[in-house]
Symmetry: C2
Amino acid sequence: MLDLRCGSVSTPCFVPLATKGAVKGLEPRDVEALGYEMVLANTFHLFLAPGAELVEGFGGIGPFMRWGQPVISDSGGFQIFSMGHGTVADEIKGRRGQGGRAGAILEIAEDGVRFRSYLDGRERFLGPETSMEVQAALYADIALVLDECTPFHVSREYTARSTERTHRWLTRCLQWHEDHGPLDQAVYGIVQGGVYEDLRRESAATVAGSACDGIAIGGSLGQDKAQMYDVVAWTTGELERGAPGRPRHLLGIGDVDDLIAGVELGIDTFDCAIPTRLGRHGVALISAPERRWRLDLVKAPSRRDPRPIQEGCPCPACAAGFSRAYLHHLLRAGELTALRLVTLHNLSYISRLMSELRSAVHQGTLERTATALRAGTPPRWLGPPTSCTGGSGSPGP
Amino acid sequence: MLDLRCGSVSTPCFVPLATKGAVKGLEPRDVEALGYEMVLANTFHLFLAPGAELVEGFGGIGPFMRWGQPVISDSGGFQIFSMGHGTVADEIKGRRGQGGRAGAILEIAEDGVRFRSYLDGRERFLGPETSMEVQAALYADIALVLDECTPFHVSREYTARSTERTHRWLTRCLQWHEDHGPLDQAVYGIVQGGVYEDLRRESAATVAGSACDGIAIGGSLGQDKAQMYDVVAWTTGELERGAPGRPRHLLGIGDVDDLIAGVELGIDTFDCAIPTRLGRHGVALISAPERRWRLDLVKAPSRRDPRPIQEGCPCPACAAGFSRAYLHHLLRAGELTALRLVTLHNLSYISRLMSELRSAVHQGTLERTATALRAGTPPRWLGPPTSCTGGSGSPGP
């Protein structure tokens, strides 16, 4: 449980992205109804538009977006360095170009990063102090310090130097926050160190040794899941020693198996684009580990399928009886309603998954629950299958 | 009040478009919560995808889209002839090319129209019997006969010949329906005749003389609002004599002042893309006749505006306290949530407008109400203004 300025948050939990101030396609009441208690807004994007000063005039990002519960603000480090290093997607897909959609980096220096805005081409600057200042204006419950997010393909040498700069930025961020930041805003440090055990342990010890309120794990977590779990385990192991009581956030991770593993490794909160982004691409999350928990509704097998996304699922899409065939049709036709419905399903799936994991943690049955969930055993939140062929067509609740 | 297969519908009312089987961006529960009792699905689009046979397997368009209340299906005439004549938008904007986004017309003959599908380039055919067959499969509560929808720029001679064919198609549609159509499906004839009083009156008399259950008014209604109201008045005048008890639908009309005028002229139901399409373009409907009832939230004046779209409006967007500034930001950022919120506001506005007009009709105060609404007097459904600056940011209901 996290006690934050705007309320408490049950942990472990997933934090949906409200990158530009909205969970894509949903309203705050939708996100709340799915059981979420916190969202993550992005400093980089909100800094560029509509600007920190405008949001501050509304009392912060919460009041601006009409979300009455806690908010985390990302520091913007990931987005800035994605411009220089290429995005994680570029990395996965083997593209190595400079820049891209997010704009162009002009200079990385000790004081921060100069870059060109992807909106208007103007030169902008974000450094540790600027990031904290923007996050103070956004008045998020949790601010993250600015870090350099190193990708997988850079050298050990680069990672070591970059991690040292991240540590210096941590000190500067905490100093700025102590001098100017809101007293009731928590600040999380960020552990870097790439895939190198000594660098990760050193970084975890450094962050644990700082006065931050919580600790986020960032950067490249490796080239496969086994390596990712190693990296997280080294880090949480170190944090267990150096910062035993402080909450831990795993940045940008949200695959079903990774959430399960993360909870086992002692992570409290997670954020990730996966559930919402997959939803907008018509890919639904289901209890099918053999298919990476994914059902691609755009593909041909759904064309005539009268079943809901998942039998017995209580989400707004399944409970109302929308068939895979209907969603397939809407997705092929580019209808916004489908993007919303699959997003609702996916966020409902993740919310209930985390709720199941929370119960297991509290009941001391995590190992058994994790094993069952990993094996694709239908989770307890799925009720008995509903009939969904023909019928009166009466809409859902 | 219309008594239809899937329920009754209070009139006069507006019918939102669910062209491809979804009101764009909304779920059926949203549309129902806004007070709507009927939606309009499109035969042309559903014929091409997912196909009538697939929808029939689900028990019709209502069960397929999980809408438990009545549905009208458009005949497809407007869409087919838009390919040949150019769309209404083309007409307004002075473009006169053949075809366009909707595909390409190959041949218009007495039996129907051959055209190329915009989806896969396949040659398809839609004639009066095919249209009724598709609509029987969609199992809409109200089917419309196939008509040739003549645009404004064609000659009187063309309009006269085309209107005669529409009348022959009316006979064929009614015949097919009598022989093969569902007994509990109502069929509306369509009045054409362009902007020519004698042709319109003749067409109205012909349709009134047929065995159709209701009458729709289609085709070009003129080059300005004055001419449109004339065309509608000639038609309803004629229908008053020839078909006094039968319900009247005005096709494709939905501007606020046109809805008011239409009710005064005795129209029962209206459908139109305007409220939903404007919503997706960030244009909200407000009580400002001097601005054509429109507020363009994308434009600069909304950038810092803390007010909701309309003070006192009970729609999900205004009641939750979303500011114009927030919507402006989301619209500029291309966020789906904003398209949804403005669509909800617009459909709420139109639903309440029609409810106000219904009350006035029943209380015999239509003239006074129409005058007040036309003058932009804040309608009765707007409560006292709400405060919307700062605040706790607690989300709406």
